[in-house]
């Protein structure tokens, strides 16, 4: 580690150090990667790491390293432990398994069958991670690094070539060359709108000013999405490297990462990464004595979805209430503290070093004509393999959900997939072959957004989903535009009526009329896209709305006012389990005799249905 303590003074010194680390890394490949991301940590991976450490210490084994890594993707099967060399993938590992892994796999080279991943569709077991269908279908250019690095160790990132794009940029390339390279790669923003990153840099570069800023948008406000968090926590240096390249290209000497307060681990990892890069002289004054100064600081959000919008974000960084403002002037002219500012999403920035590693042409070969590179999606909801997936842009929804995601949970029927977060829409089965391309998704009434992909099955009510997003957006609207503040509320009232069974056929038409008005007359993206969840569900699932309105029926059995519970007298054996568990005391009956539900007392919580072992409780 000693050669990591001194500040590096030239690009040559940097290259020599990197080479040393690379060689050392190659000769020291025995390690265990334990996923330390929020999902696996919640499944108990911290304790697993502690037990590994303890056993290794007891055995006096020094040549096996432990890497407590960022998200390894297959969160559903956590805690995940991968043994290197061999890439042996163990899932749902418990503390008691650790000793066996060390003894059998590390020392004897044997695979423990019990801990292998078993495909839910074919029941086949897989040893190596890359053979598992979930990983096989992906192209993990960004996430694939998570296996290899412990985010708290800068040397891990350096050993796999980290920071060489940044050093190449400010020691050998002109600003125009860098911008040209990013433009040629056709990298588009991963934060929502898909604006070409190179053009954005160019605008800021061309605006003359004494001071400029570059900001990483790591607000990630979309519920059900955690792509950015996984990069911030799993590979924070890649974000810093992207910022360095971008900062140099646009002529900014100050970078800022706006990260949400709900991500304390990401904040901690970023702080550490910044101080490590500063110590090595990769951030700060006169970096590698090239004359380039660049410092990075953090700005912590405070829980407001709208602050992901760029002008609101700037207001929030300046310490004000996060209200968007009218554009133009664009941020490239008038941004943070009135200076030219460029804001890139975290995943966009993480792609930047990749462009330099693969070359803009190599990078541009991945994806489709209009959408180049890979995209990380958080594949969640009613799908078997929930987790983070990274695929070439343009892969179809079907491939992602069925081939990689392993299909729908419990063998149920696919109903819809929601993409684009609260600004996106719900797409039906008939569109499963749609490519995940910015334009195709927009044309279908949804959008790419930041990469949330929430799978819904026959038990999801689409009217309820629209209601869910409207509630969210009503809560998060900053209130500046009348049409957003009131319009979203009005749409919500109409949907509430429909869910409660008091909607009339006129509701549907009126709802669409209000939606059009909101879309046309709000200022920022929040209001303009707030209608997407409503319009897309009406477009593709009108039948479901009609069932609520015309038949007072919720086909998915979700809307409480339209369902009721009954006990089948034939099936009920009078065991009393439901009676005991009902929190509303709405069940009566004598022991060993069929029970009954008092409908006026029932709150539709469904606990009886869950508790009944006989399957005698029916939802109607």
């Amino acid at each position: 580690m000693s050669f990591l303590q001194a500040r590096l003074r030239s690009p040559e010194q940097f290259a020599a150090m990197q080479q040393k680390l690379r060689l050392r890394r190659e000769s020291n490949e025995r390690y265990v990667a334990i996923c330390g991301d929020t999902g696996c940590a919640a499944w108990g991976s911290k304790n697993i790491r502690a037990v590994f450490q303890e056993k290794l210490d007891n055995l006096g084994v020094k040549e096996i390293a432990i890497r407590f890594t960022g998200c390894l993707g297959l969160c559903e099967y956590g805690p995940i432990v991968v043994v290197f060399p061999g890439e042996i993938f163990y899932q749902r590992v418990k503390e008691d398994d650790v000793e066996e892994i060390l003894r059998e796999t590390f020392l004897k080279g044997k695979v423990i069958q019990r801990l292998l991943y078993e495909d839910p569709l074919s029941d086949k077991k897989y040893v190596r991670a890359s053979e598992i269908p979930f990983y096989r279908g992906q192209k993990r250019l960004l996430l694939g690094k998570h296996w290899k690095i412990d985010p708290v160790r800068i040397e891990d990132y350096l050993a796999i070539g980290g920071y060489s794009a940044a050093v190449e940029a400010f020691s050998g390339l002109d600003r125009e060359q860098i911008i040209e390279e990013v433009k040629k790669s056709r990298l588009r923003g991963r934060g929502g709108a898909g604006f070409p990153a190179g053009l954005k840099w160019q605008e800021c570069y061309e605006t003359p000013a004494d001071k400029k800023y570059i900001i990483c948008n790591a607000d990630e406000g979309d519920p059900g999405a955690f792509m950015d968090r996984s990069i911030l926590e799993g590979n924070p240096h890649s974000i810093l490297e992207g910022l360095l390249v971008g900062g140099y290209a646009v002529g900014a000497e100050e970078g800022l990462i706006y990260v949400r307060a709900e991500y304390p681990t990401a904040v901690e990892k970023l702080k550490l990464a910044i101080s490590q890069a500063e110590e090595l002289g990769l951030l700060g004054d006169n970096i590698l004595d090239t004359g380039f100064h660049f410092k990075v600081s953090l700005s912590i959000g405070a829980g407001a979805f709208v602050c992901g919008e760029t002008s609101a974000l700037v207001a929030s960084v300046e310490g004000r209430v996060g209200e968007p403002r009218q554009k133009p002037p664009h941020l490239a002219e008038n941004g943070l503290w009135g200076k030219p500012t460029v804001i890139n999403n975290a995943e966009t920035l993480a792609n930047v070093p990749l462009i330099f590693r693969l070359g803009s042409e190599g990078y541009g070969r991945i994806g489709t004509e209009n959408s180049r590179g890979t995209k990380i999606f958080s594949l969640v909801g009613k799908v078997n393999n929930t987790g983070l997936v990274e695929v070439p842009l343009g892969m179809t929804l079907r491939e992602i959900i069925f081939d990689i995601g392993g299909g729908i949970k419990e063998g149920k029927k696919f109903k819809a997939v929601q993409t684009g977060g609260p600004s996106g829409g719900c797409l039906p089965e008939s569109l499963l072959d749609l490519p995940t391309d910015y334009e195709d998704l927009n044309a279908s009434g949804s959008m790419m957004g930041s990469g949330g992909m929430i799978v819904m099955d026959e038990d999801t009510c689409m009217v309820d989903v629209a209601r869910y997003f409207l509630r969210f957006l009503k809560d998060e609207s900053c209130g500046k535009c009348f049409s957003c503040r009131e319009g979203i509320g009005r749409m919500l009232e109409l949907i509430d009526d429909i869910c409660e069974g008091t909607g009339s056929p006129g509701h549907l038409e009126f709802l669409q009329e209000v939606a059009r008005a909101v879309k046309d007359s709000t200022m920022c993206g929040l209001g303009q896209t707030s209608v997407n969840p409503v319009l897309s569900t009406i477009r593709y699932f009108e039948d479901e709305y009609r069932a609520h309105i015309e038949e007072s029926r919720c086909p998915a059995g979700v809307c409480k006012d339209l369902i009721r519970f009954e006990i089948d007298k034939e099936l009920c054996n009078g065991c009393g389990a439901c009676l005991k568990s009902c929190p509303a005391e709405a069940i009566e009956g004598e022991r060993k005799k069929p029970h009954g539900i008092l409908d006026w007392k029932c709150t539709r919580c469904g606990i009886c249905l869950e508790t009944c072992a006989q399957g005698a409780v029916l939802k109607k």
Partner: protein
């Protein structure tokens, strides 16, 4: 330390140590120290930083992370993000709300429990997710919430349990 001491000068200086023109960082410091934003501290901080109290108050109420009331001893947090919602998190909220006798966002009158909802904890594979203090409970159902909570209340010193499947 009490927020009601006589001279708060030292504390205020400590809380405003990294003030750079943005009041948000200062509010984070206050909340970290007291668990909420006490009124008297906000008044002093406004004076110290030169902001009007109304500006401080508008920022404090705009952002969800800031609380103007103290939290309960234990915080029960239900994720109501989209992934959790489609797997039924609203039922868990209702059940907890019924058990604790408070609406989401409120604290029980004995100050023991606060019931909160959050828009995504970024662990969507575990949906629906409930976090009691630091204890994650994954893939909950109303019945599971009930059971878990009764056990937790009986044995609240036990933290860091892995999320049960």
């Amino acid at each position: 330390m009490s927020a009601k001491g006589h001279c708060l000068c030292g504390e205020i200086q400590e809380l405003t140590r990294d003030f750079n023109g943005s009041i948000i960082g200062v509010l984070h410091n206050i909340q970290e120290k007291y668990g909420y934003l006490p009124e008297n501290i906000l008044r002093e901080v406004a004076k110290e930083t030169g902001f009007s109290l109304i500006d401080v108050y508008s920022v404090a109420t705009f952002y969800k992370a800031f609380k103007l009331e103290p939290k309960g001893k234990h915080v029960v947090c239900v994720c109501t993000g989209t992934a959790c919602h489609v797997r039924g998190s609203d039922k868990a909220v209702e059940e907890l709300s019924r058990m604790l006798g408070v609406d989401p966002g409120d604290t029980t009158s004995d100050g023991q429990y606060s019931l909160e909802t959050v828009n995504c904890l970024g662990a969507c594979a575990l949906a629906p997710l409930v976090v009691v203090d630091d204890h994650y409970q994954a893939q909950v159902t109303p019945a599971k919430v009930r059971k878990m909570f009764q056990e937790y209340a009986a044995n609240s010193s036990e933290a860091n349990l892995p999320a049960g499947r």
